[in-house]
Amino acid sequence: MTEMNRRSILAAGAAFGALPLHRARAQAANSIKIGVLNDQSGLYRDVNGPGSVACVRQAITDLGATLRGMNVEVVVADHQNRPDVGVNIARQWFDRDGVDMVIDVPTSSVALAVNQVAREKNKVYINSSGATSDLTGSACSPNTIHWTYDTYMLAKSTGGAMVRAGGDTWFFITADYAFGHALERDTGNFIRAAGGRVLGQVRTPFPGTTDFSSFLVQAQASRAKVVGLANAGGDTINSIKQAAEFGLTRRGTKLAALLMFISDVHSLGLETAQGLVCTETFYWDLNDNTRAFTARVLPNMPQQLRPGMGQAGCYSGAMHYIKAVLELGAAAAKADGAATVARMKAMPVQDDAFGATSIRADGRRITPAYLFEVKAPGESRAAWDYYKLLQTTPADEAFRPLAEGGCSLVRS
């Protein structure tokens, strides 16, 4: 090969290499990247997982022409419910892959860890499936919006209703990590405020507990009227299934599934789940808009699962974020995550899944809380007709009052 030849090949290679780079840069000017970070393979997969990704994509589809040619890219990762894994992915996304916003992030321990990273990198963090109320309390951040539910709201709605119905002594079966602890703490506060008592609790290893019989028998021995399940997903399913087996409910003990999703009910079957009460901020069969949203996203949901509240929150959160980016311009939004979040707080939130809602100064989106009772098999008239509405707590009463959270963003 002659010198001339080699040089021309090198030059051609360089030009070829530079070409996609150039194009990528031109695209980036009007392009944003959303990272969906959740449990794709473990016990929370069905309550967020690929369903949340489908909902984020649905938000982009529904915005359609209003995007005015802006390119929205979606990337997905599995945090395996481990804080170290979640933090590494978030750092890599922000530092190397140009991700502008991270959404979903179930598992409170991971949710709190990613909260730190998003703040440090000044990106946008919309938490939909994490539950700890600390995200808008002691750990609140100008870069974070807590979208769908939290432990305070669940404690107030479900816990409050059970105490009012006479369940004034409680025993907790608590998943031994940030989420379970927060849910137990927030529910305990409501029980004591209403004059009830917490007789005991047992902390179950997370993840990895499949047999809850030992804990259920301890709960039964405490003679508490209510056994509070401060766990979620597969843990809740196993607890309820085994509670039925050990005759807890037949002996008059009430189960409080403090965080239960519709996919959990589907997995349990109505025969086992009937009569349980739970709180959600979204139900697919709530009104015409929720049904229309569900019909649109259903073909893309894994196993034809109806979306639960965490997943619907991803739809609503992604849509609102994109609307804010459209107002600010992609370049400005990419440059300053806190400014984007500030714009999101100033804008009214409107979508099919939740209707008209709003975001508070501490990053809490407030939305009505619905207390549901699971139907008996005979009452269910169609596929996934699982809930009847018992009570609605208005948005401004459903969540912890702004002044009580101890969030540094709130001026007293």
Partner: protein, 298 residues
């Protein structure tokens, strides 16, 4: 006496009895699963990391038989182990049989990979929250033992798995077939020279070990959520049981399975947070003091 027990343990006696019983029940699952592992390791020298996935498959096949073919629990108790055992035979013939001459590590990696793939396929197909499977009508209900409410089904699990463990032990230690198997482990060419088809025997042994895992899966289906990760949660504990009992020791794995179930059950009363770790602490201690395991031959 009861008061004395209560004073020294700090836990009401009825609660303690209840927990011992529940520990035995969980021990039954550990025993059955570690039995299959011990049989496979003893005769094939393969550390079968697919075992958890095969346990899960047993539960899923039981669900499929009911949902798709209308075959209930009792049919599944026979059919599911046969079906899953047959898949084990295929895996052994196509892949594992090529590794017998290599280091243990290759078999471990291969079976671990197969396990992950099986789990992934089930997760894609069925999601993670699990499928409902009901306790058969004949075994539903519970006995009130005074100190505890004892579901009949859990009693059945203990009795049934004890019978299976005993039968497996008898087959291997007391029958002619078992003698061939044990001889083949010691010196395969010699046994082959006597006209015994050793490769086929090894294949069937693997199938039988897998069938034991599937049988445990069917037993578990009515009490645990039938989901793709149900095996992962259990299998790590079961490996610890096998190591503590002594790799390849059949009686050792059974006794250790039940024993560790009880230890774990008691930990759930005194220090629930540590109940997932206690077995590994014991494993570490046993490995330091008796590297071959409690019942293993050094």
């Amino acid at each position: 006496m009861l008061e004395f027990l209560e004073t020294i343990t700090g836990v009401p006696t009825p609660l303690l009895f209840g927990q011992l019983l529940l520990g035995l029940i969980n021990g039954a699952f550990y025993a059955m699963l570690s039995l299959g592992l011990a049989v496979i390791f003893g005769l094939l020298n393969i550390i079968n990391f697919t075992h958890g996935a095969q346990f899960m498959m047993g539960a899923f096949v039981a669900w499929m038989l009911l949902a798709w073919a209308g075959i209930g629990y009792w049919g599944a108790l026979i059919l599911a182990p046969l079906i899953v055992g047959a898949t084990g035979v295929v895996i052994e013939r196509l892949m594992i049989s090529r590794l017998y001459k290599l280091d243990h590590l290759y078999g471990l990696l291969l079976t671990f990979g197969i396990g992950l793939m099986i789990e992934g396929v089930f997760r894609n197909e069925f999601g993670s929250s699990g499928l409902p499977y009901r306790i058969p009508a004949e075994l539903s209900g519970a006995w009130d033992l005074g100190f505890m409410f004892m579901p009949i089904y859990r009693g059945w699990v203990v009795v049934f798995s004890l019978v299976i463990c005993l039968a497996t032990w008898l087959v291997i230690e007391k029958t002619r077939l078992g003698a061939y198997l044990r001889a083949a482990t010691e010196n395969a060419p010699l046994v082959q020279a006597f006209g015994v088809n050793v490769p086929r025997m090894i294949t069937l042994t693997y199938g039988a070990g897998v069938a034991l895992a599937a049988l445990a899966g069917v037993l578990a289906a009515p009490i645990y959520s039938v989901n793709p990760q149900m095996g992962t949660n259990l299998i790590i504990v079961v490996f610890a049981v096998v190591v503590i009992g002594g790799m390849g020791s059949i009686l050792g794995s059974v006794i250790t399975g039940f024993g560790l179930g009880v230890v774990e059950g008691l930990t759930k009363v005194y220090w629930p947070e540590a109940s997932a770790t206690v077995i590994f602490v014991i494993m570490a201690i046993v490995l330091l003091t008796r590297p071959a395991g409690l019942f293993g031959r050094a």
